[in-house]
């Protein structure tokens, strides 16, 4: 473009110069030498004009020099105004399509929100078959049942930020989840409890410590609402997406730790040890302190007493490459004051009871190996007219239960490595992983010396296959042994039973 203007200017100048020179010659009739000189000048100007023309042509369509790469040729090929206008039209079309899609096709929310959920589908086999007389929650068969399909859980959740602190990340967030999981059920064990959708998580959470993602900062949150109780390890794994074993340990339901509670909890850590060379963070102390109604989810409190729960855990401050990495020792305590009699319909004789739960846990996760051990002890005051008291089985009016498990795991694959999960990929990549485990679980619901032969031993061998980012397939084989002593085995309490569970858990 510029070259073209220059060419025209030069031509005009040359012609004007030539005309004015010729006029001067005519007027002055100077010497032939002058005329010759002017002719040479004109000839030089003509040459310059030709050169400019050639330059203009060569700039518009440069020729590839010998040995020159296409990229180098492209680099000295100018774009025309039409090229730029075409590019701009494409850009404007793209901008229009984007704004139109946002207006018409993309759902919007009032506040920052993420929508998630999950489905769990299961097929199970058991031997001996379950009998109609068995009264288990949601699974009471009409006749003998040795196998069947189930949808043990589905859920839908919403989570987001209500207030964002851009300076230090002291954000206010929320979570609202609905589920058919028994841990969210307000009713006691009714037949249809697992088929009713209830609110599971309902809380707002404030980060009182900075949460900018700086791993050296301690974390700390206050959670107000309905939530999982921070007791031990297995009792906090109530939802299928966070469970390595399909079923919880015996003490979790035995000590009534499998329910969400309504209240407030402070959770956090301090003095984190950070190995930046591997993105590894190990907080020296993790703590939790909660105050709850104590009578389960989706209910108003039924008395004037709050339950108290506390948890402390210590993690060894070592580098990522140390064999001692991620060794954590924790202890938990729960103090509850339930109203005794209320659930049994003895309203007139309601008294304030006392329940305590004490737990100790040790966990070591050094991929591919993992070992976790947990012990929990519960103590519940009984009503004076409770059958266990009147029969003399628990003469001191206190029922004590104890349970423990140990789990050995071995993992192949990269699912649990942040480096592998955060790889640059074009596709919907997710590393596949396989996790095999064996768990030995023991639960003694009543330790009274007069209640013997009531222990339950469950050995579970399983394989989890993580084949997509949020999807896993689980197979568990369970061998359950009931301590019978001199008692005879019954259909409801056989000496042993075998079970096979195949479960597909997908979250989105």
């Amino acid at each position: 473009m510029k070259e073209s203007i220059h060419t025209k200017s030069a031509l005009t100048a040359a012609v004007l110069l030539a005309l004015s020179s010729q006029a001067a010659v005519a007027q002055t009739a100077s010497s032939a030498a002058d005329i010759q000189s002017l002719k040479q000048t004109i000839e030089q100007l003509r040459k310059q004009v030709d050169e400019l023309r050639n330059t203009s042509r060569s700039t518009a369509t440069p020729e590839q020099a010998e040995g020159e790469t296409q990229e180098a040729l492209d680099a000295r090929t100018p774009a025309t105004k039409a090229d730029v206008q075409g590019l701009r039209a494409d850009l404007e079309n793209y901008k229009y399509d984007q704004s139109r899609a946002i207006e018409r096709n993309i759902p919007s929310v009032v506040r920052n929100t993420k929508i998630g959920g999950g489905v769990t589908l299961r097929y199970d086999l058991r031997s001996p078959a379950e009998q109609p007389a068995t009264s288990a929650v949601g699974t009471t068969p009409a006749e003998s049942r040795a196998s069947g399909f189930a949808t043990p859980q589905f859920n839908l959740n919403f989570a987001g930020t209500l207030y964002r602190d851009y300076d230090e990340g002291r954000n206010l967030t929320y979570r609202l989840a609905f589920s058919n999981n028994a841990s969210a059920s307000s009713s006691t064990a009714t037949t249809d409890a697992t088929n009713v959708v209830n609110a599971s998580d309902v809380y707002v959470r404030y980060s009182y410590q900075p949460s900018t993602g700086n791993p050296e900062d301690p974390l700390g949150t206050i959670t107000l609402g309905q939530q999982v109780v921070p007791f031990g390890l297995d009792a906090q794994a109530l939802d299928p997406e966070v469970k390595a074993v399909i079923g919880n340990a015996g003490f979790v339901s035995g000590l009534n730790l499998n329910k969400r509670q309504v209240g407030v909890a402070i959770q956090g850590d301090f003095n984190p040890y950070v190995d930046f060379s591997n993105n590894y963070r190990a907080p020296a102390v993790t703590y939790a302190l909660g105050l709850y109604n104590g009578n389960g989810p989706n209910r108003v409190d039924n008395n004037n007493h709050r339950d108290l729960v506390g948890r402390l855990a210590y993690t060894l401050p070592v580098d990522y490459n140390s064999w001692w990495r991620q060794i954590q020792v924790g202890t938990s305590y729960y103090l509850g004051k339930p109203t005794l009699g209320a659930t049994n319909g003895y309203a007139a004789s309601n008294v304030t009871g006392k329940s305590t739960r004490t737990g100790v846990d040790v966990n070591w996760t050094h991929l591919p190996f993992s070992i976790s051990y947990e012990w929990a002890y519960g103590r519940d005051r009984l009503l004076a007219n409770d059958a266990l008291v009147t029969s003399g089985k628990n003469p001191d009016g206190v029922q004590r239960g104890v349970g423990q498990y140990i789990n050995f795991g071995y993992t192949w694959g990269e699912q649990f490595l942040s480096s592998s999960r955060q790889q640059g990929k074009f596709d919907d990549y997710w590393p596949k992983s396989y996790q095999a485990f064996i768990r030995f679980d023991q639960w003694d619901p009543n330790r009274s010396g007069k209640v013997i032969n009531d222990k339950v031993y469950v050995t579970t061998v399983g394989l989890n296959v993580f084949f997509a980012e949020t999807t896993k397939f689980q197979v568990n084989y369970l061998r359950t042994r009931n301590q019978l002593g001199t008692s005879a085995a019954t259909a409801a309490r056989p000496s042993s039973s075998n079970g096979l569970q195949a479960q597909f858990n997908a979250t989105f």
């Binding site: 180098a72 900018t212 140390s322 071995y410 942040s418 790889q423 396989y434 030995f440």
Partner: protein
């Protein structure tokens, strides 16, 4: 607990043996040749694109050099581009998932070695480069000294952390964590924080941010040999011990591509290749590299005195800033593959060499 010892032992043995029984295992490593070679880049393109840029090793990956080298052997080449940068490369190697890294900064490489990761440095992946200390668009700071007491951002555990400390040291700041609040963020988070004004300064490529009006250059340094330190290309010791011939073939292919990358005729080709990653625009690549009249000054695979001196300098700095908890010596440098490749390609004296301070010995 009444679980018998025999039951427990049997179960544990079963759990450990289960992987073999069901046919799950890590990729086969036969004595003759591996089924795959796993190579890391401690970076990824914008938005997690599986691409690197700015080095001859990136060119080798973009142009499929290693794949071509092993096509006839049936060995699969698996590139991994880690958004988590150098620390992620360490984590992946620590879990037995890598054979090579084609880019690794001094800090994560040295700290990883100090904690027991066994690797051998076989090439340098480049040297030099520009450093821009930038702030939010409305910053009035003229130097890092004007930001004392404020928040700076860097991805800790990466080479960028030492680079930031070196820039601050130029201004007499020897204890940066006392003078500033230094937080750890990855590149995307750091750029978001710049836009919202939640950090006061960082080291980053300024061009795209300035074009969007969210950042401003406070001070820039161009190819300062005391600020930068050569990156490393390494091979895992176990792989190197088992397949030295394969290591040689990879090193030779890389040196060949390094030579191609220094040729002026290929300058434009590289700008356009690197633009694919989205890390920098074509214009930014042109501006950044246009100042480099001789590409050999940056694209240099040598393990010369400058490379060694850079690592020694980094060790001293890391100790001073308490980033290194154990001693580390430099016996992991293995030059035989590089020397063989240089001789084979007749490039023994092609690249300039520098002393530990960055002064050119051979130009």
């Amino acid at each position: 607990m009444s679980i018998s010892r025999r039951t427990f032992s049997s179960a544990l043995a079963g759990a450990v043996a289960a992987p073999a029984l069901i046919g799950l295992s890590t990729p086969a490593r036969a004595a003759g040749k591996p089924t795959s070679i796993r190579i890391a880049f401690s970076n990824a393109g914008t938005g997690g694109r599986p691409m690197s840029q700015g080095t001859f090793a990136a060119n080798a990956a973009l142009l499929g050099d290693i794949e071509k080298e092993f096509a006839a052997d049936g060995i699969k080449i698996e590139y991994k581009y880690f958004i988590g940068a150098g620390p992620a490369t360490n984590e992946n190697f620590a879990n037995g998932l890598l054979d090579f890294a084609f880019s690794h900064g001094d800090l994560p490489f040295l700290v990883g070695n100090s904690t027991g990761l066994k690797r051998k440095a076989i090439l340098s992946n480049g040297r030099g480069g520009d450093q821009h200390f930038i702030g939010p668009a409305d910053t009035t700071a003229k130097s890092p000294l004007d930001l004392r007491g404020k928040t700076l951002s860097v991805q800790k555990g990466t080479a960028g952390q030492l680079t930031l400390y070196r820039v601050l040291e130029k201004y007499g700041i020897t204890e940066p964590d006392k003078e500033f609040r230094i937080i750890s963020q990855n590149t995307d988070d750091r750029r978001a924080s710049l836009a919202t004004g939640n950090i006061a300064g960082c080291i980053d490529t300024p061009f795209g941010l300035e074009a969007r009006g969210v950042a401003k250059r406070i001070v820039s340094f161009y190819d300062d040999p005391l600020l930068t330190s050569p990156g490393t290309i390494w091979v895992g010791e176990a792989f190197e011990a088992q397949y030295p011939d394969l290591v040689q073939r990879i090193v030779t292919a890389l040196v060949k591509r390094a030579h191609w990358s220094t040729l002026e005729a290929n300058r434009e080709s590289q700008y356009q290749l690197w633009t694919r990653s989205g890390t920098n625009t074509y214009l930014d690549n042109k501006e950044t590299w246009g100042r480099v009249k001789d590409l050999r000054h940056r694209i240099n695979p040598l393990l010369d005195d400058y490379y060694v001196g850079g690592l020694q300098k980094a060790i001293g700095e890391m100790k001073r800033h308490r980033l290194l908890r154990r001693d580390v010596n430099l016996d992991f440098i293995e030059r035989k593959y590089l020397n063989h490749a240089l001789a084979e390609l007749k490039l023994e004296t092609y690249w300039p060499t520098q002393d530990a301070s960055g002064k050119y010995i051979r130009t």
